[in-house]
Symmetry: C2
Subunit: 427 residues, 2 copies
């Protein structure tokens, strides 16, 4: 199979992240070889985290789009109009598939571009335009084609979610937390697009169009942001069992698709209420699936570039896609039982005979094998005279843990076989 030649326009964080991924494509699961034909950006001389000098340089994105050596045009410039739109149109008109991460472009001109792509019988893919590393576009479009979707909702702007989460957690004002978010790089120098709800609205409009096969009309989307929310609102809501979050949604009604973005109050028991910080999450409700929720990084160079890479992978069109993604003879990595001696923190639960020295025997057995205790809890003995004891250890090898339990066995102290359970690292 000939390599797939891509042209990349826009060399910001995502563009550079994509180049980095292409350069280590052998470690990914791409069904063929990808080559970068050329790159384009406003400034050739700017310092970038990857070396772009080895790729053909184009001053003009549209020229790159039309280059005969470009099979697929990747637009990472941004902006709903201007050079991004022009270059995408030129690529489609030249009969070339387009991949874009540009939510504003698709929200405003998606229908016209889709029409152009269909006329030219080429793909227009935009997984990276919605919720960064969360593969919701393809899930909605393809995987859930057998679901009658009633509503799509979610937290689609990490900056807004960071703001409301941090305000409530720290008791600091909107302005104060926004300034911190700008320092941390979670918010742009001009945060308007985020805090006004506009960025989330672009994404919600795109998801609504897919979910409901609706004629995307961004002018009908109602948008309000988090810029009107005060700390006091968050605190009062909290005391009433509610979390205020910026929620984007598309709902199917008898009149058509209502798409809007606004702060909403969620009962603390609601799954979206627990999505904190800069995460994104999308909840898809439909018949007969109930609800499916996808959560992950909604922005960032790596996650967004990996979404673009997923779209690039889709451009290879083998006659069939192998069942497990790779041809069966390439499924070479072995399954193994492992060494059985993983290092982990452990939870240990047992019942100890209620006699003098029981706890000492336990402590000594653990110490003798170098197992160090993080927490211990002993309850009163039950009617049978045995005391429930639970221990959380620091990280140690399972073999040490097992040796300690073997030592303990000799004291005839545990009443039943102890339960040894691995503790998952905090995430």
């Amino acid at each position: 199979m000939a390599p797939l030649r891509i042209g990349i326009a826009g060399l910001g964080h995502v563009g550079c992240g994509l180049i980095e991924l292409v350069e280590r494509q052998d470690r990914l699961r791409i069904p063929g070889q990808i080559e970068i034909t050329g790159v384009s950006a406003r400034s050739q001389s700017r310092n970038r985290p990857v070396d772009t000098s080895k790729y053909r340089w184009f001053d003009d994105a549209a020229t790159l789009a039309e280059d005969p050596d470009v099979d697929v045009f990747v637009e990472l410039i941004g902006g709903s109009d201007g050079p991004a739109k022009f270059a995408v149109e030129e690529a489609l008109k030249a009969g070339k598939p387009v991949i874009t991460a540009n939510k504003a472009l698709i929200a405003k001109h998606g229908m016209a571009l889709a029409k152009l792509a269909e006329e030219k019988q080429v793909d227009l893919l935009f997984e990276a335009a919605v919720a960064g590393g969360i593969p919701v576009v393809r899930v909605l479009r393809d995987s859930l084609a057998g679901v009658e979707i009633k509503r799509v909702s979610g937290i689609l702007n990490g900056t807004c979610n960071f703001l409301t989460t941090t305000m409530l957690e720290t008791g600091r004002s909107y302005d104060d937390v926004l300034a911190e978010a700008q320092k941390l790089g979670y918010a742009e120098a001009d945060p308007t697009l985020d805090v006004s709800g506009m960025d989330a609205a672009h994404k919600a409009a795109i998801l609504s169009a897919i979910a409901f096969s609706a004629d995307l009309d961004f002018s009908k989307v109602k948008v309000s942001g988090v810029d009107t929310i005060e700390l006091e609102d968050l605190r009062l809501a909290d005391r009433l069992g509610l979390r205020i979050k910026l929620i984007a949604e598309g709902v199917l009604t008898d009149d058509g698709v209502v798409c809007r973005v606004e702060p909403m109050a969620l009962p603390v028991s609601h799954p979206l209420a627990r999505i904190d910080g800069s995460l994104n999450t999308v909840r898809i409700e439909g018949d007969p699936v109930g609800a499916v929720t996808l959560t992950g990084p909604g922005a960032g160079a790596g996650p967004t570039a990996s979404a673009v890479m997923g779209d690039v992978a889709k451009m290879f069109r083998p006659a069939i896609r192998p069942a497990f993604g790779r041809a069966e003879h390439h499924m070479a990595r072995p399954f193994t039982e492992g060494r059985g001696d993983e290092v982990s923190a452990f939870f240990l639960s047992m019942r100890l005979a209620d006699k003098p020295g029981a706890l000492a025997a336990l402590s000594e057995s653990l110490a003798a094998e170098g197992v160090s205790v993080d927490k211990i809890l002993q309850d009163s003995a039950d009617e049978s005279g045995a005391s429930p004891v639970a221990i959380v250890t620091h990280r140690c090898a399972r073999s040490n843990m097992q040796a300690a339990l073997a030592r303990l066995q000799k004291f005839a102290i545990p009443v039943d076989p102890p339960r040894l359970i691995r503790i998952e690292a905090a995430s």
Copy 2:
């Protein structure tokens, strides 16, 4: 485009759910027409929730698989060997694509079947085999092809999760809760496959093979279940800030892929610790995406049938897949601003002038418009002499809410414009 003719073998809950979906396919987003050529099951006379008499009956699944009028064979019989395996092999040998929901079959014979499918250049799809309505197979296989996956983990058996969740919540024993789960239909009459961890292991093995392009060898998967967990373990863990759940995982190590299922203790702050009841969840960790988590119904006729339907939709192979899933001229449903008068519970936050009758004016204004109060919270007045007040209303029309606020305006009581925020229904 000619209709796609499918043959359905196995008419249990999922098979009947699939027939029901095919019969209302016009309301779904399938890229073509589906016809059911024939059906097959052990008993023709059994009572079923759909009328199967209008479809050609086959006593034998393999005969259905080979029928010249069947374009795609859908296997919903179950069991890793026996008639399911035989019929799938016959279909593939006859050069027909196969869709199956059979996790045991794919976990045990997936590699051999994938090889056969490749030789015959036909698709073998099994989205429904893992985590029911959660589209994790295609997400892993296709969408995340640009991610170097390090670990796949999750809660892949709803029965086990229901058991551990309910034991802790209700303080009841394993046997007691298991009996309830069987009554509710969450657990089979013979629950061994679920509670032993074997069902979760089948799913984890399939996900591991895809994530790591690994040579699936189910004999290497280490499996333990929840049948050794006692209420006391759950309670002690809870008091130490841990939740015990049956976790299935596949991890990439230097020696190969370690795949196992065992009870693990999760810090309560861990995202998987909060997945309660019969939900399933899958967490995919990789570079450069970080972590993506998918949550939803892991079983049930509707969700599983919708996953099968998503695979059926994939069998249509238009030259290009339209950008939004449907041809642009079929994207007919309008976007609308909506009536603006939705019925909802509302959260209202304001600062009231600290003077006699303020709260009375508020209560009367709400009552006069038929808005009924669920909860109210008033704080002491601040230095400026204004008291923060928050109200949670029962469900009412937004117009009534706004009328009440207009009334209140006349009393000159709120110090700033009140913030009116919709409350999301509990899920």
